[in-house]
Subunit: 485 residues, 4 copies
């Protein structure tokens, strides 16, 4: 294989011939431009140049090998060029946001001071890059569903039972037959490397040590193999499938997961188009303006100004997803290609929960994608209540999970009282690994475990089966919750 100079690469800086450098290797991405889920434009920004810093945090390591032909891998830089790239990276002037993060990292508190998931989120909000923060935290439109997801829990109060023996209290359960030390799982959340160089593996390792189940996103920033490699032998991992519109590609993906040892397929059905996350869409402008110290103004000759990428990061992730799935077609197809249990992620109303049970799937995850997709989708906790009230039989036919808005052990226990088998958290794990890596993830699992056991004992339960619908009451007032919630 040849080696390349920076000058050679630099010549291929157009749509007609577009080369990029990633980790000292040169790739010809000319033909791939039109296939890139995030669009050609973002690649062309790095045409003829080193793209490592932009590429690395949002692509799994196997992305290049998966999407490019061997012939498009042109070979390494020569040693002079490689040194120069490193030198450029090292001497590059830091952005204002990078400098802000550096300062914030120095002021990060010791882990013992983290008493709650909100404390952990506070730290993450300080130490995350602005880009990562808005990708993680943003919801669609005015973030009403995002906000209401957690506010929903504050309308449920306990009817606590006393005079029950609770010195022994076991919060463990099973999901699809797999053991979980607490009724909590990691709900699929993409792009963990945006927050921490080891990305999703931080979560995998901590989950392994604490017997938690992780649902791994199709859009993880590590490959499914990488993540499985971070797991311990007995560890259970589920796979969150964003089904490709091409059935063959999708089938290949499912089979691969099966072989890698993933134990269930969570089919994502609430994200068929990119959510309108305005803070995410705005973030490049905000960083740019901050860097330049100025904002662009309207110009008669160029009234539009720079173009917005209306999909934001999310747009790239779902660009090739199947928008035409149906109960009749998609479930049988999936059943045919895998024996793994199937869970539908993104059920948002009672009717679809019933259809899912009729379609014979193994579980449903009541979710509005953390308020990141359809604005004004009902909070999952409210859907759970309606399902309990209107169709309690569904709970006997499949396992019901919820995610969205969970911050406290009491939230988990409320959901279990209404019949949820387990409760997923997404952002909380991203924040924890961003702030402290694996140790952060272990910390929030410890907090959740402590809070769940405490709440179980105080409502009079010694195991998850003791939690009953009559132990919670949906009240008719909106509790006052502190501002940071």
């Amino acid at each position: 294989m040849p080696t390349w100079t920076l000058e050679q690469v630099a010549k291929h800086n157009t749509q007609d011939s577009c080369w990029v450098i990633i980790e000292n290797n040169v790739y010809d991405v000319t033909e791939f431009l039109s296939e890139h889920p995030g669009g050609a434009k973002i690649i062309l920004k790095y045409a003829g140049k080193d793209a490592t810093a932009a590429y690395e945090p949002i692509h799994p390591p196997d992305a290049l090998e998966k999407h490019l032909l061997p012939s498009q891998h042109l070979g390494p830089l020569d040693s002079t060029a490689a040194s120069k790239v490193i030198e450029q990276q090292q001497t590059r002037k830091k952005t204002k946001d990078e400098l802000r993060v550096e300062e914030a990292v120095k002021r990060k508190p010791p882990l013992s001071r983290i008493l709650s998931l909100m404390d952990m989120e506070d730290v993450a909000r300080q130490v995350l890059s602005y880009k990562a923060l808005v990708y993680y935290s943003s919801g669609s439109d005015d973030e009403v569903s995002y906000t209401e997801n957690s506010r929903a829990f504050s309308r449920f109060f306990f009817r606590a039972r006393v005079m029950r023996p609770v010195s022994e209290c076991d919060p463990s359960t099973t999901l699809l037959g797999y053991h979980s030390s607490i009724p909590v799982f990691v709900s699929g959340s993409a792009l963990a490397k945006l927050g921490h160089p080891q990305g999703e593996a931080n979560i995998t390792r901590a989950a392994g040590k604490t017997s938690l189940i992780q649902m791994v996103s199709s859009n993880a920033s590590l490959s499914a193999q990488n993540i499985m490699d971070a797991a311990i032998p007995s560890q259970t991992l589920f796979f969150q499938l964003y089904k490709h519109r091409n059935d063959e590609i999708a089938e290949k993906r499912v089979r691969e997961m099966d072989q890698l040892g993933y134990k269930a397929i969570f089919l994502t059905v609430d994200a068929i188009v990119a959510g309108n996350r305005e803070r995410d869409i705005r973030s490049p402008w905000i960083l740019d303006d901050q860097e330049k110290g100025s904002v662009p103004v309207w110009d008669e000759n160029n009234p539009t100004g720079e173009e917005a990428d209306m999909g934001g990061i999310a747009g790239g992730l779902v660009a090739n997803d199947d928008r035409d799935m149906t109960w009749e077609k998609t479930i049988p197809w999936l059943r045919k290609i895998t024996k793994l249990p199937i869970v539908i992620k993104g059920i948002q109303c009672v009717e679809d929960a019933v259809l899912a049970s009729e379609a014979g799937v193994d579980g449903i995850l009541l979710s509005n994608h953390g308020g990141r997709q359809l604005e004004y989708s009902l909070p999952p906790m409210e859907v759970l209540l309606r399902l309990r009230q209107q169709r309690p039989d569904v709970f006997d036919k499949l396992e019901v999970y919820i995610d969205g808005g969970v911050r406290r052990g009491t939230d988990v226990v409320k959901a279990l009282c209404l019949g949820a088998r387990a409760v997923g958290l997404g952002r909380a794990f991203l924040y924890a690994q961003s702030a402290y890596g694996e140790a952060g993830v272990l910390k929030i699992i410890e907090i959740l475990r402590r809070e769940i056991i405490s709440a179980m004992r105080l409502v009079g339960a010694t195991n998850v089966k003791d939690l009953k619908p009559e132990m919670v009451e949906r009240v008719d007032w909106q509790s006052f919750i502190p501002a940071k919630l």
Copy 2:
């Protein structure tokens, strides 16, 4: 025809002989003083002087010819006088508010940065003159109905359906048989020239390019002819009639619209008296105080001080309107003079919706005039819900539209789920054309289109007929919505 000097005109500066200059022409308005809908007082302020700047933005170009006899058109200024008027205009010291607007215009962002209708409104609030802003934005009394119109939408959540094929999604519909690319129309809004020199034509042109239907107000600042001239051949325009108390004048108006090619009559019934828009009434004082740098204080000898025009701008617009319309009298009269479809604009309760259907009109627009008329009139979205619940049969007899408080594609989709045929927006179009002219209007249509399609797909609909009442739920809590809503 003679020409006139400024000195000659200046002599006619009393109630007994009142001349004014408008665009270099001299008019004798002495006899018209008593007929002026906005009152004599405002004209007398300009008696013997040039009134162009005050006159132009709030009158259609044909107003003079319509209201004055040919003999009252006294002829042009002589050239010296004409130059002097121009010189006066050019050397006139700018007001503080004009200077503020000039600065704001310089800081106007490029269009690509406008992601939502709220962003557009933010820009408009900066670049509009204070007078225009308060006329556009104000509601009556304490603006409760204005505020509640939009808050009402935040109590409706979706029961989104998944696993439906939505890659093809068509948001088009028809209104009274006329095609509309999205289920949105321009609801009549007066005095667009206050915000932009080309006024309503900005909206007309953008609507033509995007296949939207515009309902043109009787109180537009362009003539019905001007607006029709801005339309493309196939474009649909409706006419919003403020019926004159004199049936003959009203009939003439309707026939004129018919001949001009307007395709429906929206009879306005919610604005028979001027709404009490206190911010609008106060605006002359605020501008005056700002200019003088002082506020008037109570004086024993003149305890009242300056007199307030309690009708504000709105008062002039409705002064001659018919306050005695009835179902029995007015609808048959209108049917007799036109074959155009008739829509009643301003239905505010179920009972009147039923009466309208019994009166055989073609449509109703549930509206409280954007919260500008009766304070504490129910939000239209709440009226729509009651109509759906109590008299679903009405939806089969006529087309039901709503306006008021719409800011997002999800708002539109919610209304359609409950049975609305289309949703009107008024202020949004005024803000958009004020901020960026036609380009601004195109921008918000693009935003609405994108948001509507996204919401339709995410609730599982591929066309407007798929939107059903069971897809929305009126919840019993008030969502937390960001302050700027």
Copy 3:
């Protein structure tokens, strides 16, 4: 009659011999000390001194002659003393609060700038002495009932009717057969002289000019005779009776009112003990601290510090009131001594409204005393709703009025829709006369008249009989109302 020197008076400065000077006359109040409703302590503060400034604004002119024997009127000061008293008054250093008020009066806006009752209240809050402001504005405890009285109206929305002839609109009505130009009356409010030297007469004169009915408080700062003197011949005045615990004294009072020409007795039943108006109780301290520029601190030897007058001003007013009234005893007693119509002021629940109708009284005023008595008494508008829903027959047996929280014409119209005959306002009239005297009162009557007519027309009513229960709806959300409400 002898005349007195200041030295002579000054010797009588103890509980055993207590003389005071009021308007240049010397009174021996030694024996009266124990009977003073406001307590002996406040009088002793002025023992041997001139008490005019403190006495005058809160006592009617006939109070001395009513409560003291002729022998206790010791005669006038001699001329030297009289001059000295005047000199003392003139050279007295103004308090910080007086200086503040003087400045505020200079900045008072002209009347034309007052567009609403809230505007008027804003002015009054500036120009009133702190003592008067807190007496007028305060409610009991945490002022929840005070606040909820007005918030209650914001939960009622109109189901407005259109297409009704409303060019003629007559807002007049009758109360107990007496004409009123609008369905509004002056609800009894005490101590108007605290806000303006002419006190209640300001209201009487304005009411006379506008055909409004004034209910005059037993605790007015003018005598019932003074107020009647300010009325025009045809003017209707009602009397608000705080019944004395001594039936004979009470009877004398009623007969006096009858003879003076008052047309009805409003028997006050919601103020049998002094409301706990903490701001009122605190006001002497606040003024004192402000004057001294320091606050007292805890002293081991005097842990209590100054003593609080826990009744505030209100305490003095009700100290001798009858706490043992009953339906069985009090109504027949009152019927026996007067032929005037009887209205019970202070009904707070449906059950008592029914008892009142069974007791055969002529009317009831649903009132919680403006939130000044029982904290958490239901808002009158909510009581009215319950009465309409549960016992509509009561409206046929007597006239029902409400007061408390009314700020807008729409509030009045809402109450009338539910069956109220008329609506009382109290503080609004006190604020208006405090700010601008009679002209202020005329101004708010004009505002109310305008707002009521506008609301009537916009809901489709041409007279008060057109207002029906089905025109309002109690909604299940709390509207957002601007902070100053």
Copy 4:
């Protein structure tokens, strides 16, 4: 007995030999370390040193004698050492928090300025040490139950009755047959010495003078004997039992209380684990950071940093409590060892109230431990309402009390209307004694008495039996309550 030098004591500063000085006496606590409910760590901080200042405010005087063998009491310091300890205490540099408190104490207002319980709390918040304040004021998790306890009262309004003779009004009642001057009792609250050197005795003395019943906590900072000593002969005291997990120890405790003259046992069932009071857990850090003027930051080599005591002060108090109580076992056991009436403290739902009545106990206290234990436990006032609505028969079988969130006489009267026999307050008494000792407690009893009588009269009641369910109404709106509530 020998005496000791400081040097001798100082040598015993390890886990293997741990001596401490408390009030000039030397104790060998080596063997006790493992039994200390608050953990060994906190004792080891003072190993070989004087621990008086830390020990004294949170332990009753008899704690040493109860928990240590006579042989572990090693004898007094010699006189030199004793002087030195006193000198150390006197010359010790005050902490910033101590200096803050000293300043606050100087600014404490005279008692007459305290008009309400909120005023008293305001003073206490100023003069309490930070540690005491957070222990007293904190609730669990986000303090939602704490906040909702008081907000609940604001949803209950009165249907006040008028025309009833109320000049005589007697607010007295009985609890378990014992007289109480008002329907209020002191609910068990621990560690009063944290706020005032005389601790719980302040409350006892004031209760004795005003005929109030005090329920004394197992965790009081005075011994049960000390408190009984502060009582007058006829005074009624109840005992709040935190049952030890060892039945024999618990039995000994109960018998001791019986002999001391306590009149009832309130068995605490809502605090079987330590509540998660995050402000309490954080307080040592906050004080430490404040003292040092710096905050610790994350250190790679010590990522956890200092360890948190996750139980806070509360943890120590409940460490040995019985977590396995049952209706079947615990009530018969208690009945067997005492003839005293039994009340269950901490009932949180209707079902358990019914079980309590079936278990034949004498009373129940509806309580969520002041929002300090299970977050989102229903407010007691809401539980009371449900009990009244669903099982009114329970009120006939036992006495029902509530505590939590009570601030006003109206709160008390509301609870009594719904059937509560009496209402407990805890923090209010702690705040009062912290601010002004016994005089503070007398003050708030006087305030409550005045407010209760006033509310009773204004709702038309002359004694507690007149208060009926139909006099209150649970409304469907949330009242606006001032921020400091």
